[in-house]
């Protein structure tokens, strides 16, 4: 077997040809995918009249870095950034706690009503807030949480999706490890903390990425439940620039977009290998 394998792999010409062919397909596709980003970057550095002037060409005449401070002065983006971090971080932290506990119960404990409860958890996957935002809004209002950071966090504290993902991961941990830990003197909490959590780290990271991306970019719910600048998040700041009646102010909108997108983008580019590995080891099945 091994000799065959090396034989196949060691035909460099064929391999090179195959890879070359792939690049021929992938390079244009990647460029296609990247073109909106390029457009965003280029536009963020243009003068206002250049955006629409067909004679102006694709590249800006002069790089207008001043668009960035100008965009950021429209709204208190610093406050928005802090709020975005607090909200996204708050949701992530809360979810990690709730899903860990719940997933452990579903993966490793026996109790009456387990299947029914699990189905109830899955129900939330089917009916995310976009399907129930209306009544959720009423609830949040009644709880007196409108216009506060918690209003943007509480509906997302429990995650059927995360529970499900983590339960799958927990089930893949050999039971013998839990047994060994029990003999080593761990209770349920000890087993969870010392054995399960370290072993499902990739799943936690993968889930973390999904959560952060979702809530960092959420527009609708934060817009509905916040009133004052003190509690608003970055996408609302973008909305300020985007949703004006006279047409968007493109240069500044794009500058603001770059600012909002950059933190996640940089994180991804730097850690992407780890991200992919996480998705891999998370073994999403």
């Amino acid at each position: 077997m091994t000799s065959l394998r090396t034989e196949i792999a060691s035909r460099p010409a064929i391999v090179a040809l195959r890879r070359g062919w792939l690049h021929v397909v992938l390079v244009p596709l990647a460029l296609l995918w990247l073109s909106p980003l390029v457009w965003i970057l280029v536009t963020s550095l243009k003068a206002r009249t250049e955006v629409f002037d067909p004679a102006a060409g694709f590249w800006p005449q002069v790089l207008r870095w001043e668009n960035y401070p100008a965009a950021l002065s429209v709204a208190p983006f610093g406050t928005y950034l802090v709020n975005s971090i607090l909200v996204t971080g708050g949701i992530l932290a809360a979810q990690l706690v709730t899903i860990t506990l719940a997933a452990y119960a579903f993966a490793r404990l026996t109790f009456p009503g387990k299947n029914l409860l699990f189905t109830l958890f899955l129900l939330q996957i089917m009916f995310p807030i976009y399907a129930t935002f209306l009544t959720n809004f009423v609830t949040v209002r009644e709880l007196g949480l409108l216009n506060s950071l918690p209003a943007m966090i509480v509906p997302f504290v429990a995650s059927g999706y995360g529970t499900f993902m983590l339960r799958q991961a927990f089930r893949q941990v050999p039971t013998e490890l839990a047994d060994a830990a029990r003999l080593d003197g761990c209770g349920h909490v000890g087993i969870l903390w010392h054995v399960y959590l370290p072993l499902v780290k990739p799943t936690l990271i993968a889930f973390g990425i999904i959560t952060v991306v979702t809530h960092w970019n959420d527009y609708m719910w934060p817009l509905l439940v916040t009133n004052s600048e003190a509690v608003r998040t970055l996408p609302i700041g973008l909305g300020l620039l985007a949703k004006s009646d006279s047409g968007a102010d493109w240069t500044r909108l794009m500058a603001a977009t770059v600012v909002v997108v950059s933190p996640l983008l940089v994180l991804f580019v730097v850690f992407q290998r780890r991200f992919v590995d996480s998705f891999m080891h998370a073994g999403l099945k």
Partner: protein, 300 residues
């Protein structure tokens, strides 16, 4: 007490389980179950945002719904969007993942290129695509002109506006699905491919007969995620077209929003929301019965 002790042990375990589930259940009850129940209850009433009076209507809202041309249009749009966009995005993602599932130079660049749209806020993405789609000066039309295609005002045209949003959704989410599928592909044992190659199986057949069955659980998972993300279309409609032209892009979530928040007609909006719940629930049920059994997924 021969049976006492194990019973106690079991009791303690159940108690612990409920304790662990409690935090989740509290929040699920408040922000998932209660809203669903409430939305059912609202749908039988005349409820107006900002007014505490609630008037019993019986089935009147459902009657209205039945006669509401725009509702049927929105439902049709939602179905169209969902059943086309998800499979297309998954196929795109699968092809990307298969292409990237080898030791290529520039892997990191390709991966980033395909994944970054996921991280762009939908408000911003929507605005950018409004520009890209513009007739005449829009980059997409300029590109199409190069290959000799006529200029189209994508978002102004009632037959193209929804497909245009769908194309953008594919751009936005394929990378996400790709990443998940890529991870699954890497777990397919390579000797299976080698065995197949020795048997003279073509690359396409390898994809169909080896890769797909082996990653089918992940495909199923991705389909579910896709379904959930299809709600995101609200953001695009809200930003890009506001439901127009001629209601061509009005989808259920947006129509619920309009009724609930613009028209303050909570009762009717709840009725619509219930239909959406049924639709999504039904779609998941269909997926579960069609694929679920084959991929051994949800059951255990």
């Amino acid at each position: 007490m021969p049976f006492g002790a194990p019973f106690q042990v079991r009791l303690r375990e159940a108690g612990l389980a409920y304790l662990l589930l409690l935090p989740s259940l509290v929040f699920l009850a408040a922000f998932t179950y209660w809203p669903i129940l409430r939305s059912v209850w609202f749908s039988f009433h005349d409820v107006v945002l900002g007014d505490s009076r609630i008037i019993w209507l019986g089935l009147e809202n459902y009657q209205r719904l039945w006669d509401d041309r725009l509702f049927w249009k929105a439902l049709g749009n939602t179905v169209f969007y969902t059943v086309i966009t998800i499979p297309v995005a998954i196929v795109c993602a699968l092809l990307m993942a298969v292409a990237l599932d080898s030791k290529l130079r520039g892997m990191a660049i390709y991966r980033s290129a395909f994944f970054y749209p996921v991280m762009i806020p939908s408000v911003a993405a929507g605005m950018v695509w409004v520009f890209l789609y513009s007739a005449g000066y829009g980059p997409i039309n300029q590109g199409l002109r190069l290959i000799g295609l006529p200029d189209t005002a994508w978002l102004y045209d009632s037959s193209w506006a929804l497909p245009a949003i769908m194309v953008m959704s594919v751009w936005k989410y394929s990378g996400y699905f790709m990443l998940i599928l890529l991870a699954a592909l890497k777990l397919v044992p390579s000797d299976l491919y080698e065995a197949a190659r020795l048997d003279g199986v073509s690359a396409f057949d390898r994809l169909i007969h080896i890769t797909l069955p082996l990653i089918s659980p992940t495909l199923y998972f991705v389909a579910i995620i896709g379904l959930l993300h299809s709600y995101q279309i609200f953001d695009y409609v809200y930003v890009m077209t506001h439901g127009g032209p001629a209601d061509a892009t009005n989808v259920l979530t947006f129509y619920i929003y309009q009724n609930g928040f613009q028209y303050q007609d909570i009762g009717y909006a709840s009725t619509l929301a219930n239909v959406l719940l049924l639709f999504v629930g039904g779609l998941i049920a269909v997926m579960a019965t069609v694929f679920g059994r084959r991929v051994h997924y949800l059951g255990r």
